[in-house]
């Protein structure tokens, strides 16, 4: 193979520079700052900081409140990922089988995706509004008083529903295109080989969908961990104390509300390591079982 060569030694560096600068400014620098300040205890009013070693970390490790938030985050992430992927898969499989009016049907299902995330979050919050929310009304009809932002479980429920709802269209689009990229002849061969539609799905369709599903799994876990911030913010109404929050939201409240920059930095570092570990694990465990065509 012929290797492309630059006559100017600085040329490749110059070409890479914009990308490197962006990564450096928006990832490495903040990451370094977080790691650095996680070893300090900052004065809330900005009058300097003291080196405290791993103190911020040990404080996290022994904090029952942190453990509670971490527990909820795991629960929240798992349930949001499972529900949004599962529902989207069901919808995609059904949409794939629609023959008449397929385009209209698919467009309707993707519509939510076209709404900007904050607007979708706001719309979701409106559905659960204490006074005018139709879902609140529905619960009231069955005699249950849904109290978002006041009752821990109710808030958690609304957070999960809105987060799942927002993520379904993304998953749906990817899964549907994944389904449609499975060669028709392969499905027909399966039709001749196996009478049971359910067995065909798990034996043939699902394994061929696995690369898409694996990609979505990572995307969804990241989404549930990080991108649900807006939804949580709207649901807890600035009152995180008695409400369920995730680790990311705690980083924000401790750092910017509680002015505990060191502790909040330590939390970000923990999150960073967590995501790194998760991604490596997913690739190690899952990718080898996935067949890319």
């Amino acid at each position: 193979m012929k290797r492309a060569a630059f006559s100017q030694p600085l040329m490749p560096v110059a070409l890479l520079l914009p990308q490197l600068v962006i990564i450096a400014v928006f990832f490495y620098w903040p990451a370094w700052e977080a790691i650095y300040s996680s070893f300090f205890l900052q004065d809330p009013f900005g009058f300097g900081s003291n080196f405290v070693g791993a103190n911020n970390y040990t404080r996290l490790a022994t904090s029952s409140e942190y453990a509670k938030v971490a527990g909820f985050t795991v629960f929240f992430t798992v349930i949001v990922t499972v529900l949004s992927l599962g529902t989207a898969l069901l919808l995609a499989v059904k949409a794939d089988k629609v023959v008449r009016g397929a385009k209209t049907y698919r467009t309707l299902l993707m519509w939510v995706y076209a709404i900007a995330p904050p607007v979708a979050g706001f719309l979701g919050a409106l559905l659960f509004d204490q006074n005018i929310g139709p879902i609140t009304d529905l619960f009231a009809f069955f005699g249950y008083n849904l109290q978002i932002g006041l009752n821990y479980n109710d808030t958690a429920f609304a957070m999960i529903v809105v987060s799942v709802w927002k993520q379904i269209p993304v998953n749906f689009i990817f899964l549907l295109s994944g389904l449609q990229s499975i060669p028709v002849a392969v499905r027909e061969a399966a039709l001749i080989d196996n009478k049971s539609g359910t067995r065909r799905f798990w034996d043939i369709t699902f394994p061929l969908l696995a690369p898409t599903a694996f990609f979505l799994l990572i995307i969804n876990i990241t989404y549930a961990l990080f991108d649900t911030f807006g939804v949580i913010d709207i649901m807890v109404k600035g009152n995180p104390a008695s409400n369920p929050i995730t680790l990311v939201y705690k980083v924000y409240t401790d750092g910017f509300r509680g002015s505990d920059l060191g502790g909040s930095s330590a939390q970000s570092v923990v999150l960073m390591v967590l995501v790194l570990a998760l991604t490596v694990m997913q690739f190690r465990m899952l990718e080898r079982r996935i067949h890319y065509t």
Partner: protein
Amino acid sequence: MATVSVTDISKTYPNGAQAVHPASFDIADGELIVLVGPSGCGKSTLLRMVAGLEDITTGDLHIGARLVNNLDPAERDIAMVFQNYALYPHMSVAKNMAYGLKNRGASKEQIVAKVDEAAEMLSLTALLDRRPSQLSGGQRQRVAMGRAIVRDPALFLFDEPLSNLDAKLRHQMRVEIRNLQRRLNVTAMYVTHDQVEAMTMADRIFVLNAGRIEQIGTPSEIYRKPASTFVASFMGAPPMNLLSAQSVGGQVQIGGVALGLSCADGDVTVGIRPEQVAVTQGGTIPFKLTLVEELGASRLLHGTVAGQDFVVNAPNDDAALADDLMLDFAPDALHLFDAQTGQRL
């Protein structure tokens, strides 16, 4: 192994397009029939209707003694080989072949025995653990065959199985498929647009055009007695020459030269195969030569007879050719067709 009986089977799509006009035919046990025709003639649709991949709009389809119209493809006791092989990309060769058996409740030992036997037959034994992506086109084709064989189906269906192979491999696989089908003595329907495949493999050929079966016959019948100008021009390479001619006083003439054939007065179409024309000094029909194609064993002379395109397949004797030649047609090599309907007279 079974007979197939088709009665007035037809296919109309919801938008009103009629892909297959009502057709009836029977296939004998162990017979290989080839459906041949140009793209869009309905040959694949017909095959897919037999497979159960397309609904049958009207008519009855029996495989063996069973009416299978409303049975799922998996219940029809058929096996199909697809053009692009349609192997399961995430399964090994062995698993690809075993999948259909497994779902029919065969025991582990039975499956292993069957797969090994088929692999042996198709020289796939060394490849059983490979994935389809690690195989060549010819090997994939064999796996697709193996997947069909292991099930011992009543009927084999082939949907242009060799179209994706190169010419040499195609020839080799053609012979292999034919041998295998004879050895297993299994009934088969084979779809192709390649008339050479049709001629060489078929017990009987079905020539389709625009959703209708134009002719059913053995390869030699199709070649010697084409039922219409369509069949005459579709089967044979180069195709049969078709000339507009007139019958005057009961005698068929081209450009004023009588051909020694008689029929009712009026316009007719005269057909003659390029290989049945002799170039000779004593010929009666003038031929204007425009182009010579060398084929090695023979050569194709392109030109005109009475102002109409005409091809002669002449033995290659290296003789220099003049621009104006004389041709001789043996009267019994000529075919007469109705000028309007194209039907054989």
